[in-house]
């Protein structure tokens, strides 16, 4: 009979072997090339390729598109040949997960660049980890979700993503065009405290202007069931609610689902950020009035490009993206594309409503754009 302590050692050995097998996941098919040399101050050199890590705020299809862009950059910029590998990792919509992962990045000897979508922009411990990474020589940028710019902008080199305040204003203007006499509306979002959420909602209120009354802003912590329950409870409590605004990508399918179940589409406008696959389909079926769409593909692509340029100290790329770089004002912000997508027919939202930098797409045109890139959401 096997003694239990021996059995325990056997179990541990089994797990250890499994871990050893798992470490093979880090192997790169391509050899290391001299071009991948890290600048002075980077952590102790390791023999494999250098990693450029993108860390998301949570697991959401939005990030699948971003990953596609990051991987496209890896291919097209020939990063593998230059000794880099792009590693796309997902958070879980908590500060703890991001802090824990950043601590591990600090110890990794092969990470040279980190692009992070910050979940808690005011979280001191998360900021300290970003600062520690930078002091170790790792290049850090924020993508899609920035740190609190007033207090902590030194914790990253720059921000790359949508100007969420402008995005919110665009959605607000579109909402005004849909309901010229005003509306009573509610926001639905994963985290009301997230920087992108706060900016989008503030921008929406600003863009919509007078006549619009906010009934509530509810968060769900990334829990889709909770997201749906939030919509239901809002409609239960506010029978006069005439507009529902989805702020994060997964909120809109939940909104549409409730509106369809209750058969109140004729009374309620549905406006949203981002184009989840289900949201795109629902717009085609007439259940979504407008989508203000970011370009996560571009965020992934440009994010990797910038990180690689920072690591290699390629000033031409950096200057092209941040011509007036400064850690004050907006010199450290690179705005990615913003699109307004409306149904093919019957929309009261006109392209002339929006300023430069905002593209106007009909639903069918947007589908075509996605198809060209092999994407199902954006």
């Amino acid at each position: 009979m096997i003694a239990p302590n021996a059995a325990r050692v056997v179990a541990a050995s089994f797990v250890a072997l499994f871990l050893a097998a798992g470490s093979g996941c880090s192997k790169s098919p391509a050899p290391m090339a001299p071009g991948g040399a890290a600048p002075a101050g980077t952590p102790a050199a390791s023999s494999g390729p250098k990693r450029i890590v993108i860390l998301t705020n949570g697991p959401d299809p939005f990030w699948d598109t971003c990953e596609a862009g990051a991987k496209a950059a890896e291919r097209e910029l020939k990063l593998t040949e230059a000794g880099f590998v792009v590693d796309f990792q997902r958070g879980d919509f908590t500060d703890k997960k991001q802090i824990d992962m950043l601590k591990q990045y600090t110890l990794a000897t092969d990470i040279v660049g980190v692009g992070i979508s910050v979940f808690g922009p005011q979280n001191r411990n998360l900021i300290e980890e970003l600062r520690k990474l930078q002091s170790n020589g790792v290049k850090v940028i924020t993508i899609d979700g920035d740190v609190d710019r007033e207090k902590f902008r030194d914790a990253r080199y720059a921000y790359l993503g949508t100007d969420n305040l402008v995005g919110g204003q665009v959605l607000g203007k579109a909402a005004k065009a849909l309901s010229p006499d005003g509306a009573k509306f509610a926001f639905f979002v994963g985290n009301v405290g997230a920087a992108n959420a706060k900016d989008r909602m503030a921008g929406f209120v600003e863009g919509a202007g007078s006549g619009f009354t906010e009934l509530s802003r509810l968060d769900d912590g990334g829990d889709r069931a909770k997201a749906r329950a939030n919509v239901e409870s809002t409609l239960d409590q506010h029978a006069d609610c005439t507009m529902l605004a989805g702020i994060w990508a997964y909120n809109t399918p939940q909104i549409v689902s409730v509106v369809r179940d209750r058969q109140i589409r004729d009374k309620v406008k549905v406006v949203c950020f981002d184009a989840a696959e289900a949201s795109i389909r629902e717009m085609g079926e007439g259940n979504v009035d407008v989508m203000v769409v970011q370009n996560p593909y571009q965020m992934g692509y440009e994010g990797v490009k910038l990180l690689q340029a920072l690591v290699a100290d390629d000033q031409s790329v950096i200057s092209a993206m941040y011509p007036n770089y400064s850690q004050s004002g907006t010199g450290d912000i690179y705005s990615t594309e913003l699109r307004v997508v409306v149904p093919d027919t019957g929309s009261t939202i006109a392209p002339t409503l929006f300023g430069e930098g905002t593209d106007y797409f009909l639903h069918s045109q947007f589908l075509e754009w996605l198809k060209e890139r092999g994407l199902s959401s954006s």
Binding site: S26, D95, K103, T109, D110, Q122
Partner: protein
């Protein structure tokens, strides 16, 4: 029996776990660059010990309840609830920050949490622990007086406490920030330093608590009564042991350790978010206790075993984070789940039969030869960097041969014994 072999016999569970920890650490140290510098080793040790301590503190509470024959499923929600109470009390006691204004009412200011007076966190901690004590007492009342099964009583808290915390945080933040929020962030240097230079605080609390509970369980009559109640509650009650009071003690230890862990987690993160904090942690605590040798039927388990079980889990998680460079978070659950099953399954070898027991009897046995083989193949394919299909199929074939041979041998042995 010689004293040395007596020591090994008595502590074989703990020694086995200690050896397992060393093997995993040695493997990780060999393969991961993080161990190749002194600074990396130091920081890794800090991470492992801090994480093990925060998990270990409420795993100890969970273990006491399990040893006493109960179960406490409320730990995760209580961690979220305690973090909310702690940070909530802190911001209510903190002075105003004159440099800020409410958007809804410029006469009011946000609380100043950058440099808190020391008495504020002390008061907040005492309030939090007092409330955790009340939660434990409420559980005991539900179990002993209302006669709810422990699973149901603590399941109600698992669901209810998180919801209560989410409601509370909205009212607290409305009171202090002029608008409802779902999180509270504290910037005090001292409190948040648990994530950095004060990492040892959680370790110290864990060690002191472990020593105290070891004394309680191993050196006191109350401890022996807890084991007796866990082994056979009816017999313990008939022999004059006041089981209701013992349950009160066990559930209060569990809730107060979870409360303490909640405070530490909140400080470690710097933000309390009751919607997500401590999600699923009750299962981590139970896993640590079970891996450490506690029996879910009660009456069995040691504090040293639970400490080592906790350490083993954290060492494994740290190894996954370091060795699975791509998507380590996705592999973490797979490895930990496999580990828990293996640890508990090997524990069963202590029972009658051991390796001689038939593991693949009848149609169910044959089906599971296929299931386990397929699982081994899938895991191999997932962890292979290339030739995933080939490697997976090879392992499926190999496992099928080994387990299939075992199943055939069992059937032959069964026929021989029948004849």
């Amino acid at each position: 029996m010689p004293p040395v072999s007596d020591f090994f016999r008595k502590n074989r569970n703990e020694l086995g776990l200690a050896a397992a920890v060393l093997i995993v650490v040695a493997m990780t140290a060999t393969l991961s660059g993080a161990y190749h510098t002194a600074a990396g080793r130091t920081e890794t040790a800090r991470i492992i010990f801090r994480e093990a301590s925060m998990l270990g503190i409420f795993a100890l509470g969970a273990a006491v309840v399990i040893i006493a024959g109960g179960i406490d499923l409320s730990a995760g929600s209580l961690i979220a609830f305690s973090g909310t109470i702690f940070f909530g009390v802190v911001i209510m006691l903190a002075p105003d920050d004159p440099g800020t204004r409410w958007s809804s009412d410029p006469q009011h200011h946000f609380p100043q949490t950058d440099e808190l007076a020391p008495w504020i966190p002390v008061v907040a901690l005492l309030v939090t622990l007092a409330i955790a004590f009340l939660v434990g007492s409420f559980h005991t009342w539900l179990i002993t007086v209302i006669e709810l099964p422990p699973f149901v009583a603590t399941l109600a808290s698992l669901v209810g406490l998180r919801s209560l915390a989410r409601l509370l945080i909205q009212d607290i933040t409305a009171l202090e920030y002029g608008q409802r929020q779902s999180t509270i962030t504290i910037n005090d240097e001292l409190l948040t330093s648990i994530s950095r230079e004060s990492w040892w605080v959680a370790c110290l609390i864990w060690l002191v608590l472990s020593a105290a509970l070891w004394l309680l369980l191993s050196r006191t009559i109350v401890g022996r009564h807890l084991y007796a109640m866990g082994g056979n509650e009816e017999a313990a009650r008939l022999s004059g042991i006041r089981t209701d009071r013992l349950k009160w003690l066990a559930y209060c230890i569990s809730s107060m350790t979870a409360g303490l862990a909640g405070v530490l987690y909140a400080c470690y993160i710097g933000t309390t978010s009751p919607a997500t904090d401590g999600m699923g942690y009750e299962l981590n605590a139970i896993a640590a206790a079970v891996v450490g040798g506690c029996s879910l039927t009660g009456g069995i388990g040691t504090i040293a075993g639970v400490m080592l079980g906790t350490l083993f889990l954290r060492v494994i998680i740290d190894s996954v984070a370091k060795l699975f460079r791509s998507q380590p978070d996705l592999f973490e659950g797979l490895v930990v789940g496999m580990l828990v099953v293996l640890a508990v399954a090997f524990n069963q070898l202590r029972g009658a039969g051991g390796v001689r027991k038939p593991y693949f009897p009848g149609a169910l046995g044959l089906l599971n030869v296929a299931i386990v083989s397929a699982l081994a193949g899938v895991m191999t394919a997932l962890t292979s960097s290339d030739a995933k299909l080939r490697n997976g199929l090879l392992v499926v074939g190999g496992t099928l041969v080994v387990l299939g041979s075992r199943a055939i041998a069992e059937r032959l042995a069964s026929r021989r014994s029948t004849n």
